[in-house]
């Protein structure tokens, strides 16, 4: 009896290994397709694999025990209950499943799950109370050098770091909710932190009250889709030295600053919302040393600065909405060959602030709510060019204190005289074809 089960186990292992192999083939073939596909293939596999149940009254009572006993590719089912464990090392490909009521409580000590194997899936459970430290990056889930990991429907609360992912590839992070109660930057960590990783999809997560909501450093070919990152101390999304990434349909609201994208190439940002990043030197989006990016269909609303641009070149800004920001766009440093087309600039205190007299950027066919020109030939394009850079914004750049004179009659008068004959602002920084109607 005993022997036969062992044999069966062996057979099962062979079958699973076979499946995994086949499976990777499929992945390689259908690399372009969604990883969801991967999950649907995984499901029948797990039917054949071993399932271990963990609960207070089960033979196996702890997660650690379950993992020790699990054969590779087996499924560990956490029944509802609280598991007071930390530093749980996952060194074989397993799937951990559970409901939200299956709670792993780290008791404020160390890491909770440490994943060092490939093909690990964690789904549905709650993880809370990660250790606090100023020296170690304790995380709810730590993943290192892993491939094909899936983190799904996890609730992680009271964490230092949420998911800390290093040197990993081809992962999916989806439908998770990560939050903490960060007060100071030094004593807090990031929600989803990726370092030296490739081809990871981050989708539909909610991260809030952390240091950075989502953090990318040396991450390539990854996507950030449909996430909501809000009330974080520093950035909603922090992006450094990461090329060929995209992020779409995310909302960044009320963070210290919205999104910082720095030292990266070929980034696509579409349909994101940058809202209410309001405060001293706060901004919706910071671009620093960025080349060849697409910024399309985004909304920047009520930010102190909509987009703060430093040394960024060949960027295409199209169909974005800039609504009620302090500065819609603040350009500093060398920015060349940028295109601003078909954007809506609505009720910003300053539309464009520009700190030099030279301009190599193109502003055409935008809608400016402050435009007062006319359209005699009724072609929808104003007959008089619009100057988005006001003399006053130039003065405020030079002497920030002067902002207290915003909207005073005197400022209106000098702005008007500058509009008539520009002396301080770039001569050619004009929208020669300002639109008469808002772009829908």
């Amino acid at each position: 009896m005993f022997k036969s089960t062992k044999k069966m186990n062996k057979n099962l292992t062979i079958i699973t290994l076979l499946f995994t192999y086949l499976f990777r083939k499929i992945i390689r073939i259908s690399k372009k397709k969604k990883i969801v596909f991967l999950c649907s293939v995984l499901l029948p596999v797990s039917v054949f694999t071993q399932q271990i149940e963990v609960c207070k009254t089960c033979p196996i009572k702890t997660v650690k025990e379950a993992i020790q006993n699990a054969a590779p590719h087996s499924t560990i089912k956490l029944k509802d209950g609280i598991y007071k464990e930390y530093d749980i090392l996952i060194d074989k490909p397993v799937t951990i499943l559970g409901s939200r009521k299956a709670i792993i409580d780290g008791n404020n000590k160390g890491y909770i799950l440490k994943i060092v194997a490939d093909s690990v899936t964690v789904k549905g459970i709650t993880i809370k109370n990660v250790g606090r430290s100023y020296t170690s990056d304790y995380a709810a889930i730590y993943i290192s050098k892993s491939k094909h990991f899936v983190l799904e429907e996890i609730k992680a609360e009271n964490v230092l770091f949420g998911f800390l992912i290093e040197k990993s590839k081809k992962g999916l992070v989806k439908n998770n909710h990560i939050f903490s109660n960060a007060v100071v930057e030094a004593g807090s960590g990031n929600g989803i932190h990726l370092w030296h990783s490739d081809s990871v999809i981050i989708e539909n997560n909610e991260v809030h009250n952390l240091r950075d909501g989502i953090y990318f450093e040396f991450v390539t070919n990854s996507k950030v889709i449909n996430n909501s990152s809000h009330h974080n101390l520093r950035y909603g999304l922090h992006f450094m030295f990461s090329n060929n990434d995209e992020y779409h349909n995310n909302e960044f609201r009320d963070n210290g600053s919205g999104v910082a994208v720095m030292f990266s190439k070929n980034i696509a940002m579409t349909k994101n919302k940058f809202i209410y990043n309001w405060g001293t030197a706060s901004y919706g989006l910071l671009l620093k040393e960025i080349y060849d990016a697409e910024i399309i269909d985004n909304t920047f609303q009520e930010n102190t600065i909509g987009i703060n641009i430093e040394g960024s070149t060949r960027i295409n800004y199209k169909k974005n909405n800039f609504i009620s920001n302090g500065w819609a766009i603040k350009i500093a440093g060398a920015c060349y060959a940028n295109k601003f087309n078909q954007n809506n600039f609505l009720h910003n205190s300053f539309d464009v602030s520009y700190n030099s007299k030279l301009n190599d950027n193109n502003f055409t066919n935008n809608y400016w709510s402050e435009y007062t020109g006319y359209d005699l030939d009724k072609n929808g394009v104003g007959d008089v060019p619009y100057r988005p850079v006001k003399l006053f914004s130039y003065i405020v750049n030079k002497t920030p204190e002067t902002v207290v004179l915003l909207r005073s009659l005197f400022v209106d008068i000098i702005n008007f005289s500058e509009k008539v004959s520009p002396a301080f602002t770039p001569d050619n920084l004009v929208d020669k074809q300002p639109l008469m109607r808002k772009i829908q």
Binding site: A281, S324, K398, P400, E401
Partner: protein
């Protein structure tokens, strides 16, 4: 005083100019809302108008009323009334009727367009409040000028000059000094320069509720600390009240000593 106030007020409420003023605001209100249909945006445009216009109308109306009612004032002086009573009554009568034109003129279109249900209601109310403050301040200043100048033309001249100075020239000098002395810490200077001009102060109070609060971060800690908090709002209101009380006090002192 209430009697004098009542009759000055009735007198003014029936004058053509009150109607013109009222209708002007009514039109502005409706036109702005019709063009924008966005109450919050209209509040910003209105601020530009109120901060410049109420002082102008206040000074001109104040001076005009004083000179036009001189003989009547003499009649009142022969009645068993204190001088304080007469002049304060007239002052409040003028200020109140102008304020009423402003509040009704703008209030009607905004209420009609549903400002009461929008989030802009508080901005709108503070806007009207600031308008009322400015009216009271500038009518008081106008009465001061008129009391000190027997000559009508001179009085009008000074009144216009006062408006021009506080509405435009002051800010010009302010801006120039900020730019010239930008190496020095300018926080305190900006703070005082703002407080000493009721028009600037009113503008800042409204902008704090609208768009300047975040931009102020750039100007340094003192300024932001002062204006960025509730203490700032309370302090600004107190300063505005002082701006009403001090000229009013001078009206009383001046009126007591004046010969008619």
């Amino acid at each position: 005083m209430l009697k004098i106030f009542k009759y000055s007020f009735f007198d003014l409420m029936r004058s053509r100019w009150s109607y013109v003023y009222f209708v002007f605001y009514l039109l502005i209100g409706f036109v702005l809302l019709f063009l924008n249909n966005d109450t919050s945006k209209a509040v910003i445009t209105l601020m530009n108008i109120i901060v410049v216009l109420t002082p102008l109308i206040g000074t001109i109306f104040g001076v005009m009323y004083y000179y036009n009612s001189r003989e009547f004032t003499e009649l009142l002086l022969a009645q068993p009334l204190k001088r304080t009573t007469i002049f304060l009554g007239q002052y409040i009568g003028v200020s109140f009727s102008l304020s009423l034109s402003l509040v009704l003129g703008l209030g009607i279109p905004f209420v009609a367009y549903g400002v009461t249900q929008s989030t802009a209601i508080f901005d709108f109310i503070s806007l009207l409040l600031v308008g009322v403050f400015l009216t009271f301040i500038f009518v008081a200043l106008a009465f001061n000028i008129a009391l000190s100048n027997e000559n009508k033309i001179k009085g009008f001249g000074y009144a216009i000059l006062l408006w021009l100075f506080l509405a435009v020239i002051y800010d010009g000098l302010f801006l120039i000094s900020l730019v010239l002395f930008q190496e020095y810490p300018l926080d305190q200077f900006s703070l005082f320069a703002t407080i000493f001009n009721p028009i600037d102060l009113s503008r800042i109070v409204i902008l704090l509720k609208l768009d300047i609060s975040a931009l102020l971060g750039y100007t340094g800690a003192v300024f932001q600390k002062f204006f960025g908090t509730n203490i700032g709002i309370i302090a600004s209101t107190i300063v505005l009240i002082l701006w009403v009380l001090l000229p009013t006090f001078r009206i009383v002192v001046k009126a007591k000593k004046k010969d008619f």
